[in-house]
């Protein structure tokens, strides 16, 4: 696989503020890469460096094997969909979409055909003569998309393009973007602060924090194997527990976590030689059941403990529980609401909990 976009030691400083700090990263041709992070983390600056709206303070930017570090945006083979869409208000939909072709002096007949194609691609055929202010938010979004795609960029940059849409439309657009990306095979670089959006669409996700890429991986890797405390905390809900080494056996370690709960982990998962680490645990991985006696559990089961439900929050398909273990550790758990009559938990109930050792992710303590 060849790198479509490559950042080599890119740093961008604004005055005294370092927005991007020595990032080296390759983006593979044809992939859907999401830059995920909180606002102000540098993800938009990364995108602007690729688009050419910013020049790096240090390092270089390569697109398709060409050093574009000092090329202005209008000479780069990339196009962007802006957060505000930035449609030209004085032009019709067709003129907006055709703008890039006009700049590249594509012949009239060919331009018209390509505009038609692009509009068909985003299902806007028939709205050619409308002006941006006569369109709904979702339609504007599609025009912005068609306007960028019609130029056949090597890389399409998307800066939080769905943030102005309502939840339902956003869902639909997520799927549509993913479909378009597969169909066209163009490299998409998508910026968002919405972790759910990132998990839904991306081939790979880059977790950006403080101007650096903290972790890069598939949605699965990011979700199930967060590499840092930040990654674990930012993507999805996570129980983050400080763990202290108590005892080391031949093949497992015994640790005590915040509050006092004792857990057993495979030795291989524990960072060699560390006395403390961080355990990240997804709430849905905390298995909760009606109170059972220890004899009812399968032989050899580890990490089983009793807890009391402190709070129960109904969330429709799931129930969110706050548990307090006998030892005094507080955990959150999510259980499926299987039926209105079935196994329902209530605040104050005493329950049995189990944790699978594989579901416990050890993150090195910072």
């Amino acid at each position: 696989m060849s790198a479509m976009v490559e950042l080599r030691g890119v740093t961008k400083r604004f005055g005294g503020f370092t927005a991007v700090n020595d990032v080296s990263q390759q983006i593979v041709g044809g992939e859907f890469l999401t830059l995920l992070g909180p606002s102000g983390c540098g993800k938009t600056t990364l995108l602007r460096l690729i688009a050419g709206f910013e020049t790096p303070t240090a390092g270089s930017v390569w697109i398709d094997g060409e050093d574009v570090t000092h090329l202005p945006p209008y000479r780069r083979p990339v196009n962007q969909v802006f957060q505000s869409y930035a449609l030209f208000p004085h032009l019709t939909v067709a003129e907006n979409v055709g703008f890039g072709l006009r700049m590249k002096q594509v012949g009239k007949a060919e331009a018209a055909a390509r505009v038609g194609e692009a509009l068909a691609l985003v299902s806007l055929t028939g709205l050619e003569t409308r002006r941006p202010h006569q369109l709904s938010g979702g339609q504007r979004q599609r025009v912005a998309l068609a306007r960028a795609l019609v130029c056949r960029p090597k890389v399409l940059l998307l800066d939080e393009p769905l943030s102005a849409l309502d939840a339902k439309l956003r869902r639909a657009m997520q799927l549509e973007l993913k479909r378009l990306q597969r169909q066209l095979g163009i490299t998409f670089v998508f910026v968002t602060h919405d972790q759910e959006e990132a998990l839904t669409m991306s081939d790979r996700i880059a977790i950006v924090n403080d101007g650096r890429i903290e972790q890069l991986g598939t949605a699965h890797e990011i979700y199930h194997r967060p590499a840092t405390r930040f990654a674990a905390d930012f993507v999805g809900e996570a129980n983050l527990l400080e763990a202290r080494l108590l005892l080391q056996d031949a093949d497992c370690v015994h640790v005590a976590v915040t509050g006092g709960l004792e857990l057993t982990l495979p030795l291989a998962a524990w960072p060699a030689g560390a006395s403390v680490a961080l355990i990240a645990m997804r709430p849905e991985k905390v298995h909760v059941s009606k109170l059972k006696s220890p004899a009812d559990f399968p032989a050899g089961a580890a990490n089983i403990f009793e807890a009391r439900i402190e709070e129960e929050i109904f969330q429709g398909a799931t129930d969110f529980l706050v548990l307090l273990t006998a030892a005094g550790t507080r955990l959150s758990a999510v259980v499926a609401n299987e039926s209105a009559l079935g196994d329902i938990f209530h605040a104050g109930d005493r329950v049995s909990c189990g944790l699978h050792a594989d579901d416990l992710v050890i993150v090195p303590a910072e």
Partner: protein, 273 residues
């Protein structure tokens, strides 16, 4: 609130509101009369056959005829029109590009430049007239159309600049970036995207510049030659000699033209929406 029978009758409160209503209506009417009665009188007396503006004799179009036959006056009107048009075009070009410069680029001295640009708007015209006259005299430049136009541009382009700047503040910064992203050079982005977005402000600024130039007297007085005398200069000269119903007729024409101009500019505004 439960209705409580009290001694005070219920009509009192509404009557207070009505009183306020009435007095506000009266006040508004008074202001309108104060503003427009002189104009109405002026127009009415332009159809008066008497040379005096105080006694009504009989209806006539003679004064309009006089205006039409007054060669110097028509020449002055033509001068005014040429000067107003040329200085408007220059003001729009200067003001728009200046606003873009101050908005888009960060450079040393930008703030002082901003202040300097605003000065001609508040500087007394008499000062400006004198200083321009001194400038032209030292430069050894004869007075004429060019000097009048330079003078008019000096005080009218800041109005265009300020209007355009206000519009630029509200413009999505991504607009220019989108154009660049789609392959437009900075110049193309400016002319094909930014300027059309600024059109309402440019039109408003141009109308402002035109009106300012059209009725300017003082700066023109210091910078004009006899050949380039504008309408206000000529009228001022005529009024010094004595009021003449011909001036009423001229004013009436002006009023109609101005009203037409206002309607036209409103129409333009509607178009650009």
């Amino acid at each position: 609130m439960p209705a409580t029978p009290t001694a005070s009758p219920r009509w009192r409160f509404p009557s207070g509101i009505r009183l306020l209503d009435l007095s506000l209506t009266g006040w508004t009417a008074l202001v309108m009369v104060f503003l427009y009665l002189p104009i109405v009188v002026l127009v009415a007396y332009s159809f008066n056959s008497s040379r005096l503006n105080i006694v009504w004799e009989s209806f006539t179009f003679a004064w309009y005829q006089h205006v039409w036959e007054n060669g110097p006056l028509l020449r002055a009107a033509q001068n005014s029109l040429v000067i107003a048009c040329v200085s408007t075009v220059i003001s729009v070009l200067l003001g728009t590009s200046g606003a873009w410069l101050l908005h888009r680029y960060r450079f040393r001295g930008a703030r002082s430049l901003q202040t300097l640009v605003a000065v001609p708007m508040v500087m007394p015209e008499i000062l400006m007239g004198i200083s321009l006259l001194i400038l032209f005299a030292t430069a050894g430049r004869g007075l004429g159309f060019a000097t009048v136009i330079i003078g008019h541009v000096t005080f009218s382009f800041p109005f265009v600049l300020v209007a355009v700047q206000a519009r630029l503040k509200g413009l999505d910064p991504a607009m220019e970036e989108a154009a660049l992203d789609l392959g437009a050079t900075p110049l193309q982005a400016f002319t094909l995207v930014i300027v059309p977005c600024l059109r309402p402000a440019i039109v408003a600024g141009a109308l402002m510049a035109f009106t300012l130039s059209w009725d300017e007297l003082i700066v023109t007085f210091f910078t004009t030659s006899a050949a380039s005398a504008t309408l206000p200069i000529r009228v001022f000269g005529m009024a010094k000699v004595g009021l003449n119903p011909m001036l009423n007729a001229l004013s009436a024409i002006f009023i109609v033209a101005t009203a037409g101009f206002v309607v036209f500019s409103n129409y333009l505004k509607k178009l650009s929406r």
